[in-house]
Amino acid sequence: MKITMAHGSGGRSTSQLIDEIFRASSSNPVLDMMEDSAVVDGDTKIAVTTDNFVVTPLTFKGGDIGRLAVCGTVNDLLMRGAVPKYITTAYIIEEGADTGTLKFIAQSLAKTAKEAGVTVIAGDTKVIEGSGGVYINTTGVGFVKDGVDIKSANCREGDALIVSGTLGDHHAAILSGRMNIENNIKSDCAPLCEMVQNMMSEGVHIHAMRDITRGGLGTVLCEFAKNADCGFEIDEDKIPITPEVRGFCKILGLNVMHMGNEGKLLAVVAESDAQKALEVIRKSRYGENAAIVGRAVKGGDVTLITPLGGRRRVTELYGEGLPRIC
């Protein structure tokens, strides 16, 4: 069945759509009350984040917009040391969208929420004119224990930089489809709860964390350098990257420093904690390829040490990361 404007009327078609697809996938006592707002328990400081998801195609190798909508928001909560607890989901659906696809997305979202330990407590659906697109907004709420203070301004000269796995996979997976390049590269789209919670329970002193999404590691480090009283140095040959993604970058003239990921984090930890943090991440789900890639240094620049022994400045991503050909 295709979505029509009637599904957005607020009448019977709307409630059927919500009941059969969205509530059915994420059913729980809070959501099932179907009240105008969710009332939930809370007792500590809370972390809140919100994000819109507009990826095309809606499903891709390694994930789909539903899984992405949970991972993106949950990972943002985790990066401040919060334990993710609740999530809200708001869909904007263009007429012409296929209800089978919607069901798939809603179920994938629910499954990922379960994996990440978050409950879907509120939602909304709107239908607009268009040609079958689906956009999702999720807002996440997490709890932060007393004494936890993870933020980019905490980075100190001498700190170690750890990347939780191979870079560029999500970007390459999405772009492969658009550029007619066949490969087995999968999006890394994943909730990073286990590795963050393991680091915290093992007592690793995490100074700052960021999930390395759009704009890539280069952009994240430039943002950190602005907020912190230090610069950063990366050893290019330490950056984890699969041979497939490296080959992909070569074809299109892309640089992995600026490629997006959806299940990778950068952790800045005290140098004395670096080995321990690395081991904890490597033992956690989605962290087996983690590596120490560099260090915080004096000054405010972000510098890449190339395998050749050269140095170059790293900037934020400019433009759109389009393939370079000529």
């Binding site: 390049i181 066949e182 490969n183 087995n184 080959g247 992909f248 070569k250 074809i251 050909i325």
Partner: protein, 73 residues
């Protein structure tokens, strides 16, 4: 001006080759180079522009000795 990547021909079908770059497959036109499956080739913008000769190490050695001669000339 011209990004070009080295890959290996894995299939060839009527002047259209499938080229493998570390697990990434693309179609490339083989209209100006005669290639066979297994050849290493250089591809620019969907066109195979040259076969890659595999004897570069030796050639570089010769180059440098040539360079020393030319530099001293």
């Amino acid at each position: 001006m011209c990004v070009a990547a080295p890959g290996r021909v894995v299939e060839i079908n009527d002047k259209i080759a499938t080229v493998d770059y570390s697990g990434n497959l693309t179609k490339a036109n083989a209209g100006v180079v005669n290639v066979a499956v297994g050849d290493y080739v250089l591809v620019h913008a969907g066109l195979i522009i040259q076969k890659i000769s595999q004897s570069e190490a030796k050639e570089m050695e010769e180059l440098f000795s040539m360079l020393e001669e030319m530099g001293n000339a």
